[in-house]
């Protein structure tokens, strides 16, 4: 349905470009990226837990990938190539988020004048929690613990368990040796287990 809306644009572009080599490369990029877009957006959403941030990150990745589209030789390698760009952008965002350490804005009873808009702000916060990615990440204790890991471990676990990539596939997307991926995965799982054990019900569902 959505595809059909984009198709005319792509066709028009084909007509305009004829068969120049540059046009072919550009056209190929558009086709491949269009086919990959849903998955890329979902991956960004699972990594960031926020639909708006996921949209921003995917858009950044598209522009960055587009600028280096010439470096993609093999169309079959599009997904790992694009994933790598996207994962880098998401990792930067996760790290920056950590550094900034957002202070939750809460109504301050002493600041009545300026806090006026805050008192009923709960409704809006509830709307924000309607985020589909955050909803998944919040639902289960183990998943919540996964989202609380450091950025690298969170990325490894998401790529392995959500995106169902092999350890080699994860390594390719991160530019790491497989051994590093393994150790991060191991460490991340241990960390989650520690969180589950701390829970009174042992983390069982």
């Amino acid at each position: 349905m959505i595809l059909s809306r984009v198709a005319p644009t792509l066709e028009r572009r084909e007509g305009e470009l004829g068969s120049t080599a540059a046009g072919d490369a550009g056209d190929r990029f558009l086709r491949l990226a269009n086919g990959e877009l849903d998955r890329a957006y979902r991956l960004a959403g699972m990594l960031l837990g926020d639909q708006h941030e996921a949209e921003d990150a995917t858009q950044d990745a598209l522009v960055r990938a587009w600028k280096s589209a010439g470096s993609l030789r093999d169309p079959a390698g599009f997904q790992p190539w694009f994933d790598r760009i996207l994962v880098n952008i998401c990792r930067d965002r996760l790290r920056r988020r950590r550094r900034i350490a957002f202070v939750p804005i809460e109504p301050d009873p002493d600041d009545a004048g300026l806090g006026q808009g805050l008192s009923a702000g709960r409704n809006l916060v509830l709307t924000a929690q309607g985020d589909p990615f955050q909803a998944i990440l919040d639902r289960d204790l183990a998943v919540r613990a996964m989202a609380g890991l450091n950025p690298d471990e969170r990325i490894v676990l998401t790529l392995h368990y959500w995106a169902d990539l092999t350890l080699e596939g994860v390594a390719e997307r991160l530019g790491w040796p497989v051994g590093t991926v393994k150790s991060r995965l191991h460490h991340g799982l241990n960390e989650i287990r520690r969180v589950l054990e701390r829970e009174p019900d042992g983390g069982s569902r």
């Binding site: 639909q51 708006h52 598209l62 010439g70 805050l118 009923a120 368990y161």
Partner: protein, 268 residues
Amino acid sequence: MNDDLERRLRDELRKVALPGAPDALRTRLAGLPADPRHSALRGLFTGLRLAGLASAAAVAIVFVLVVRSLPGPTTGGPGASLGSVATTGPSAGAATTPAPSATSSASIPPSPSTGPSPSESFTCAGSQVIQATTTTVAPISDVRVGTHPGYDRIVFEFAGSARAQLTVARAFPPFVEDGSGNTVAVPGNAYLSLKLYHASGYPTYTGPSLFTPKYPNLVALVNTGDFEGYVTWIAALRDLNQVCYNVSTLDNPTRIVIDIMAVGPNPS
């Protein structure tokens, strides 16, 4: 034990169907220039950098001369260098401007192909007005938020070449929804009202009417009205003391850009 946890993660992560990419992303993809190697993007960036360097120096000198030769503090501020922007309100010209000086604001020429510039100067008082380029209605096609080093950005995109009028000013709660008169609660510590006139979001804008980005300064953007040509959004900021912003316009597609200064986690 480990296998249990792995299975649990796999199951839980994949239990729910996730939404696909929003239409705005598809549109953005289809709007990328045709040839990546000679893309307009790259051309724009290098062009801007070169033109910026050359013109910034020249314009800055002129700017300084003009400001010095004028009596009183009436023409400072970034508004003066933006052509279509008029700055009004108390002490707008004398507004405290942080690190970026007149030089960087002068590097934003009012030409149609202006791209986003990372360095700019902000006004911290009064209001700014962007004049409309239509006397009928400019349909809003997209509203976006983003964050960049030093500032958070709000973009209004229009469906055609016509641009609505925009007035940016400090605002204080309670905020009332146009038409219904209902009070709209907005989280945040300080607010800017973004009033568009000669504008309509219906039926062209189908995106969210509430954004809650966790950016360094911008924490919410709420639509409080789309009524009789007036479209109103409230931007809620984290930082009570730094309410500094800069308004500029971009073409192809037609956009109005509001950059809100963000000093990061330690404003003091």
